[in-house]
């Protein structure tokens, strides 16, 4: 985002600000990095060191057993691939539908207000778990990846954000297009979407992360372990042995409990792929993308 401040002022006031700002951000970066380092260290440490509480942000008694175990497990890899595919298709589908909804509604269309209310209403009112389940079952989507794609296809929250972005586009350009007689489809694909790349990148990231991290729907709708997304597997691994309320504890003594290092390694395994998405999207956040698109 250099473009925003093209001329770096060399005055001492600016230098001091830059320094303070850098220090603040650096401190925050350390605070945000520490927990992940902690988990990464646990995944590489011995069970003894972890349980004795000796592991902080550096691994102790380093070994790779946990990762070996995970990579040996074909079902983990399969779940990872499944989640990748699921996330990609979900994001594409959701973005398509969200744009379809947001573009007309951003135009203050006649009747749009009612549609908007219809949608906003669902942000607050819902039927609840049981009717949701009955619907999915009625559509024969249980144990089907469709149950993880369709029911949450449009997030009204994200749609409203997109509408806000679309409304703040320079109106002159759009009006010019309309006067030129270009159709709405044409305006959308040739002018509006290229202009909205930062917003589209942002929402894609939100959808992708939401799908990647979500597992409650899979917990309810998927019963075939072959169709478990990675986060559902991770959830079970992390929660393994955590059933500690007195009701469920009784009689649970004879089960194999996973070592802490495997839990930590599973968290790393399931988190790192989605973390890689952002740097890849970052290029869309550079101002100038927009200007370039307009001049096209």
């Amino acid at each position: 985002m250099k473009a925003i401040n093209p001329k770096r002022t060399v005055s001492s006031e600016a230098g001091v600000f830059e320094l303070i700002n850098t220090v603040i951000i650096a401190v925050l970066v350390i605070l945000c990095l520490a927990p992940l380092l902690h988990i990464a260290s646990m995944s590489l440490s011995s069970n003894r060191a972890i349980l004795s509480g000796e592991v902080t942000v550096f691994p102790l008694e380093i070994n790779f057993e946990a990762y070996q175990k995970i990579f040996q497990d074909a079902s983990m890899i399969r779940s990872l691939l499944l989640s990748l595919g699921l996330t990609a298709s979900y994001t594409a589908l959701s973005m398509l539908m969200t744009v379809f909804a947001a573009y007309p509604l951003s135009k203050r269309l006649k009747g749009g207000k009612y549609v908007m209310f219809l949608i906003v209403f669902t942000m607050f009112f819902s039927g609840g778990t049981i009717p949701d389940y009955l619907l999915i079952r009625g559509l024969h989507l249980t144990n089907h990846l469709g149950s993880l794609l369709l029911p949450t296809m449009i997030n009204p929250f994200f749609m409203i954000i997109l509408i806000t972005f679309l409304r703040s586009l320079p109106s002159g350009l759009l009006e010019a297009a309309e006067i030129d007689g270009s159709s709405h489809f044409h305006t959308l694909t040739r002018i509006v979407l290229p202009l909205s790349l930062p917003a589209l990148a942002t929402l894609s990231l939100f959808y992708a992360v939401g799908r990647w991290n979500g597992f409650m729907d899979a917990l309810m709708y998927i019963t075939d372990p072959k169709l478990y997304p990675i986060q559902l597997k991770l959830y079970q691994v992390v929660m393994n042995s955590m059933t500690n309320d007195p009701l469920s504890m009784q009689g649970d003594q004879v089960v194999s409990v996973l070592p802490e290092s495997i839990k930590a390694a599973s968290i790393m395994f399931a988190t790192v792929p989605i973390l890689l998405v952002y740097p890849w999207l970052q290029k869309y956040f550079i101002s100038g993308v927009m200007i370039g698109a307009v001049k096209e």
Binding site: R48, S52, I130, L134, L139, Q236, G251
Partner: protein, 525 residues
Amino acid sequence: MRKRALSYALLATMSIGFLGGCSSGSGNEADGAASADAGKQVTLKVGIFDRGNAPAGYTATDNYWTDYVQKNFGDPNHIKVEFVPIPRNDASDKVNVMMTSGDAPDIVFASTNVLTPYGYAKDGGLLPLDSLIDQYGPNLKMYLGDALDVGKVDGVQYSIPGRRVNTGKYENLIRKDWLDKLGLPMPQSTEQVYETLKAFKEKDPGQTGGKVIPLGLSLTPASLEPIVWSFIQDGLTDEQRYTLSENLGYPLLLPGHKDAVKFLNKLYNEGLVSPDFALDKDEKQVFQDVMNGKVGMYSDNLGNAYTDNPGIAKLLTQNIPGANLVPVDPYTNNAGKHLKPEYDPTGFFLMVPASSKRGVEAIKYLDWMAQPDVLLTLMNGIEGEDYTLVDGLPQRTQAEETSKRMFNSADMAMITQGEDFGSNEKNWAAAAAAVPEQFRQSVIDAYKMSLTDTTRYANFTTPIEAENKYMPALRDIYDQLIVKSIMAKAADFDKVYEDLLKDYMASGGDAIVKERTEAYKAMAK
């Protein structure tokens, strides 16, 4: 635009799902008893916990034992046994949804709490099993014995309680090497425990540099129940037991409870217990402190200290050479007895939903499992491959394949929690055989101690509605009472305790006592 076409297709089929799912109301036995025509294969769906611990190559629903069941039970009986995974941590949510949509497996189990089958039975969701068991379950009946009665609601067999073999609940542990170093005897009474803890604190035999925690404590029943119960006074009448105990686990209303909390209050104010115990909701901190050699005494679920995972005693001896953690049974009540709670002899409650058409097959399956040789195999694997018999007790081999194979065998053998070898002594020896040599005697001692002077909760065979309604909220109020009373200044103790007790009674405690009193009167008649 293809996507939208899809949406229309969905809209068209919507009506099917819209108001459906209202499975036929109260089940009648004739439905469930409709057996398969001879020769025609039917499908029996069996719920199984998915704990996320399946080794590579296996899943909770497709593994060595599911194959074994199909081959040895399914194929000969023309039944396809299909296992339905139930996520362990959300078992009741998932089971509720499956129940209401009629998708529940033919054998469901979700919890060890007797309130679960009560609730379902009350709503007409369970198949009565009396005649099915009479007809198809002779082995099952023999194996479960009296435990079956716990599954009755108002005299009707609505659920089959799995049998719990070892009913011992807790163990108390102490650092024997610390005692030896200070020349102290094993504490034999609560008074002596206090003296011992003080000595630990003052003399710091573990040389922890002032970080010694004489008594490790957490906010879990495992830490608190053994101490709290030990104060309950001797000679309770049946009426007291029935009307004043509740599904809570803790004996809040029984005489002696307040003394117990007062004792813990004293220990807390003298710095003898884990200072942050109120934050330790899962014993993690206590375990960590024990393993690091800071703790002198603590209590835990029976058998937990010596098993491989988390491996508390094992890691302690690794961290602190010479450390010796042994079981002890020191707490005494007003009559000098070592009162402590014991489990009901029941495990998970197995249920057959009223909507199930496979009641017969379900009982046949459980009956097949109840045969001694089948049960032995499910619990231990194949002789020669997975175990060898030593002194008549199976000793597990160290083979990689065995540990993979046995990952969920305890869940597969759903009619039992633990294995019965015929006598307590043998069962204890079997439990000891599963831990490293050096800890075996300790395990046997701990199991033995866990069964001295025990008491069981007084449960009725009719549901206490108020318990179902108020218990989850009351549990939090109880925890609050425990924590705030223990952490109160000695002078404020009475007020804090009484105020929270009032809060407890007003928030449902009174309603439970009232209902239990009525139920007791009805029962005594």
